[in-house]
């Protein structure tokens, strides 16, 4: 897959100094898809570097699959460009795009063996018999399916079928590996294993990967960068930490991670939530959405004095839920109900409903978004 880099520079060079974005190995420029009146993907701009693992994250129907299928060439774009290594692929049919796509349904060839499935892409490239057999053996070892070469897909478990699909897409050494919710049909434990495995393999091969998911954990734990989509548009692109700590829109804040959400009125560096005034680290004014992560709030029984920049509220525990690694509390403070999460420490301290408590969090954990008129 490295040889694409050289073609990239060769082809890109004559084009010369392209301005601003569009410098990624994969570059989506104003990519759009309309189905008659309905806009499924709306002017998406995205640049992905070589070897990067980027997730498209968003709720159902936000256009993730459509975007991925446009990159693969299975859906014709209504507008915009898809550029890979400096080459405009927008009008190129899928079989000349050199991309590996892993489908949610796996889409294995039912009439071929595991080895036959994996060899297919190599046969289409007209490689020699020995080359094919070497690379198939290599790919089978990569996904740990040795000894199952001659099985039919119907004779494999879901996880094994997933591995075949992955090997089949990787063995052609695609310029970009595209994955459409590849783990959603697996059980929780296998899903965790496959996450690590896919990421390891991708790192080892240095493949550029686009991973579609609606599972925020998956996106955060696997990706170099995450693209949050909503209604066909990109809400925010950033590292998992960016999205979690510095969400730019209320949508991102509430979609990525759990959050307390209030509406209030911002007054500079503080916000009025009903009768309560809380401090924030950002300047804002007027009607605002306010979000505070449940696990950034400290819950204590003592009446801790307010320290500089700290928010302190006293309240009463209304509900306590034991979730194994977490204790979740609903706390009523004034007329606001806060969700608070505390890691369980094994010491067995769980506050019973009715306990009077103090909630505190630092000003920068108060996320304030000016409400759009």
């Amino acid at each position: 897959m490295i040889h694409h880099a050289s073609t990239a520079t060769n082809i890109a060079a004559p084009l010369g100094n392209e301005a601003k974005p569009g410098h990624g190995f994969l570059s989506l420029q104003g990519l759009s898809k309309r189905y008659s009146e309905f806009v499924a993907v709306d002017a998406v701009d995205l640049d992905v570097n070589q070897g990067e693992f980027v997730s498209l994250l968003g709720p159902s129907g936000c256009g993730k699959t459509t975007t991925l299928r446009m990159i693969a060439g299975l859906v014709q774009a209504s507008g915009g460009r898809i550029v890979v290594a400096g080459r405009d692929l927008t009008a190129i049919p899928p079989f000349r795009r050199d991309m590996g796509l892993v489908f949610q349904s796996y889409a294995l060839f039912p009439h071929m063996s595991v080895a036959g499935n994996i060899a297919f892409g190599l046969e289409m490239r007209g490689l020699s018999r020995s080359e094919i057999s070497n690379r198939v053996t290599e790919a089978i070892a990569l996904v740990r399916l040795e000894g199952r070469e001659n099985r039919r897909p119907s004779e494999l478990s879901g996880g094994q079928q997933q591995r075949v699909a992955l090997a089949r897409a990787l063995v052609i050494r695609p310029s970009i590996l595209l994955l459409d919710e590849p783990l959603s049909n697996l059980d929780a434990k296998l899903r965790d294993e496959m996450r690590t495995e896919i990421r390891d393999i991708q790192r080892r091969l240095g493949t550029t990967a686009i991973f579609v998911t609606h599972d925020q954990d998956e996106a955060l734990t696997m990706s170099d960068r995450v693209v949050v989509m909503n209604h066909g548009r990109i809400e925010q692109t950033g590292t998992p930490e960016d999205l979690y700590e510095r969400p730019r829109t209320p949508f991102v804040a509430s979609f990525v991670g759990r959050t307390n959400r209030f509406s209030g009125t911002a007054l500079g560096r503080s916000v009025k939530l009903g009768d309560t005034l809380v401090h924030s680290a950002t300047e804002a004014n007027g009607p605002a959405d306010v979000m505070i992560r449940p696990h950034r709030i400290t819950i204590s029984t003592g009446s801790a004095a307010a320290s500089g920049g700290q928010n302190t509220l006293s309240g009463i525990v209304r509900r306590m839920t034991y979730a194994g690694n977490l204790l979740q509390y609903d706390v009523l403070a004034g007329d606001l109900t806060f969700q608070v999460e505390e890691a369980t420490l094994g010491s067995g301290r769980a506050l019973a409903p009715g306990t009077t408590v103090t909630l505190s969090w630092s000003a920068q954990d108060t996320l304030v978004f000016e409400a759009k008129p």
């Binding site: 693969a72 060439g73 299975l74 049919p93 899928p94 079989f95 000349r96 795009r97 050199d98 991309m99 590996g100 796509l101 489908f103 349904s105 889409a107 294995l108 060839f109 039912p110 009439h111 297919f120 892409g121 289409m124 490239r125 039919r152 119907s154 089949r168 897409a169 052609i172």
Partner: protein, 264 residues
């Protein structure tokens, strides 16, 4: 899955159903071994004389061979038309695909007698009446709807993602068709072929309209035989036909079963 116990009432009903369907066969089999000169039931004595008589009846044997050749050719041409046609209509879905499909399968809905009359007029004009070409075209018209329906249905149930996967792996549309679509479509094609063959082999009305001295199918020949004579030869021929049809069905079922194990 556990099978539910079948209620005795249902069993009795099913038995009557089978009896009703199989009654003609139950009468024809003893009749075919009759030693009488005329059809009468029950026969007064048993022998193989009518089976031997078939072997000596050149007209009947010729008609049988003609029917087999006709049905085989009709089947092959049917598949050659139905596979690309279904592919174009289902996968490419051109404007008006539904209307075209309805038009092509319309002969299924027409009474055969109407179709026969229409074909008679057309073939007479074209000078194809009582020619092998004429009867071949007539059979094609009535069997194509079956082949088309079966193959189109099979095609529309194939997961399109598998074909897309092949395309992303570098297969041109032609390679996708021959390496992926066609093998997965095989059970449907075998079923369509069997249906075409049997419908053509069994066809009486159109064949009667189209027939001539050189182009007589087996059912027509048998029909003529019954018209002029009332001997049990027809019963013997019927039994042989039942066996032949059963053989075709079993062969198809076997190969379909095989196809299923490697496709599903």
């Amino acid at each position: 899955m556990e099978e539910k116990p079948v209620s005795p009432v249902l069993k009795v009903l099913a038995a009557f159903g089978f009896l009703f369907l199989l009654a003609p066969v139950l009468i024809v089999v003893p009749l075919s071994f009759s030693n009488d000169v005329f059809m009468s039931f029950p026969p007064s004595g048993y022998s193989l004389r009518w089976y031997i008589a078939i072997g000596a009846n050149a007209k009947l044997l010729d008609a049988f061979l003609f029917s087999v050749k006709l049905a085989s050719l009709v089947t092959v041409v049917n598949i050659l038309i139905a596979v690309p046609a279904s592919y174009a209509l289902i996968r490419k879905a051109p404007f008006g695909a539904d209307a075209i499909m309805s038009l092509l399968t319309a002969p299924l809905l027409l009474p055969t007698i109407v179709l026969g009359l229409a074909l008679l007029i057309v073939m007479a004009r074209a000078g194809y009446l009582a020619t092998p070409q004429g009867i071949f075209l007539a059979h094609l018209v009535v069997t194509l709807p079956y082949a088309l329906r079966v193959i189109a249905t099979a095609l529309s149930t194939l997961p399109i993602a598998v074909e897309e996967a092949a395309a992303t792996l570098g297969a041109s549309p032609l390679s996708v068709f021959f390496r992926i679509t066609l093998p997965m479509l095989m059970p449907g094609i075998v079923a369509a072929a069997a249906l075409s063959f049997l419908v053509s082999f069994d066809e009486v009305v159109l064949s009667l309209f189209m027939n001539g001295p050189k182009v007589t199918t087996l059912p027509v020949e048998l029909y003529h035989h019954v018209e002029s004579r009332a001997d049990p030869l027809v019963a013997a021929a019927s039994v042989l036909l039942v066996v032949f049809t059963l053989a075709v069905v079993i062969i198809v079922d076997r190969s379909l079963g095989l196809a299923k194990t490697f496709v599903k």
